[in-house]
């Protein structure tokens, strides 16, 4: 590490606390900050507060499901620069299609090995930087 690299914020919206905890633990030695929200409402508030580069959204959640949460995040003018992804345990074509329609740019399977997830994050944030 030579330069002062900007910390990348990742917001994980999931009612199962494991997924945020796990990413927090594994990303701790990299240049990432993981923020956890346990439902859609909390997720939207935290997204506005922290302006994360990446937002991961679970599919099934109490009260407001992932699709509705992504629709709301996607419509929000304050969150135009966040990269929205479905974070799911199973990529049923219908679910993936619905989430793309709701504004997701991609999806990540929860069974994906950590190294691959990190690779994806680096690629996304690399592209974000070069766009600026």
């Amino acid at each position: 590490m030579t330069e002062d690299k900007k910390t990348i914020k990742v917001l994980v919206i999931d009612d199962h606390p494991f997924f945020a905890t796990n990413l927090k633990y594994k990303l701790a030695s990299h240049n990432y900050e993981v923020i956890a929200a346990k439902n859609g409402y909390e997720g939207i508030i935290k997204a506005k507060e922290t302006q994360p580069e990446i937002i991961l959204v679970d599919y099934i959640m109490p009260e407001m499901d992932g699709i509705e949460t992504m629709q709301k995040l996607n419509k929000d003018p304050d969150l135009k620069s966040s990269y929205l992804m479905l974070y799911t345990s199973e990529a049923y074509p219908q679910v993936v299609e619905k989430s793309l329609k709701a504004g997701a740019k991609d999806f990540i399977l929860k069974t994906t090995p950590f190294e691959k997830i990190l690779e994806k994050f680096e690629k996304i944030t690399g592209e974000m930087e070069s766009e600026q």
Binding site: H16, F18, N22, E90, Y92
Partner: protein, 250 residues
């Protein structure tokens, strides 16, 4: 719930449609359930791995153990719901049952475990109707337990009324609670699998109730407003049943 075009098709017999509908419902349920169970299993596994690493670093692992317990007990609850839904076919001849007896049986079980006041208002002149007693008991239990939850340990009552529909179209069972009631938002989502506002709920209760009522050619009607309590009506229609020789006057 979306209806599949197959089910709307006029050329398919009602019997056949019921079977198709059951598979469609099961398919949708299976997809959501496998998604949710996977989440829980990945969590349990993942926490174990985290514990492994943390123990090596001599870090505390109490939180992980609490979370593993939570995830495992939720997975067990979901598994029990789906088992009780899929067990037993619908093709078998259904016995003709006095629904009041099912209500009495259900209340007997629940009265021993809850302090809530239950009020019974049963029409003694109801006709027998063909139904699956175990499944309808499951519906009654889910509905009444939701009412108990809605009372939220406060004083209140649950009233169960049975009666005939106007013009003798069928019968109904109304479950009314004086609990917290629901917003319009919530009313719209009630029957979606996994929709819940409760910390430890599966959100499968009402979606399974809806499916069971559909399999009986019945439906559920909901009336509710915030702070005004809720009324869930189970409606069984005679003329949508397969003609059944056992529908008789008592």
């Amino acid at each position: 719930m979306d209806e599949n075009p197959l089910v709307k098709n006029e050329s398919i017999s009602p019997d056949r449609k019921a079977v198709i509908q059951k598979f469609i419902t099961l398919g949708e349920l299976t997809a959501s359930i496998s998604h949710e169970l996977k989440n829980l299993l990945i969590s349990i596994n993942g926490y174990c791995e985290l514990i492994d690493q943390k123990l090596k670093n001599k870090d505390s692992v109490e939180e992980e153990i609490v979370e593993i317990k939570k995830a495992a007990s939720l997975a067990q609850k979901i598994f029990m719901e789906i088992l009780s839904f899929s067990r037993g076919g619908t093709d078998k001849e259904l016995p003709s049952v006095n629904i009041n007896e099912l209500i009495e049986d259900t209340l007997m079980i629940l009265q021993t475990i809850k302090k809530t006041t239950f009020i019974k208002n049963l029409d003694k002149t109801l006709n027998l109707i063909p139904l699956d007693p175990q499944k309808i008991k499951q519906v009654l239990i889910n509905m009444i337990m939701n009412g108990v939850d809605a009372l939220n340990n406060k004083k209140g009552s649950i009233t169960i009324t049975s009666g005939k529909l106007p013009s003798a179209f069928g019968i109904f069972v109304k479950i009314h609670d004086t609990g917290c009631g629901m917003s319009e938002e919530t009313t719209k989502k009630l029957f979606q699998p996994f929709f819940t506002t409760k910390g430890k709920g599966t959100g499968l209760g009402l979606s399974v109730c809806w499916d069971i009522m559909s399999l009986h050619n019945g439906y559920i009607h909901v009336e509710s407003a915030p702070e005004k309590g809720s009324t869930f009506s189970l409606v069984f229609l005679y003329n949508r049943f397969k003609p059944h020789k056992d529908i008789v006057d008592l």
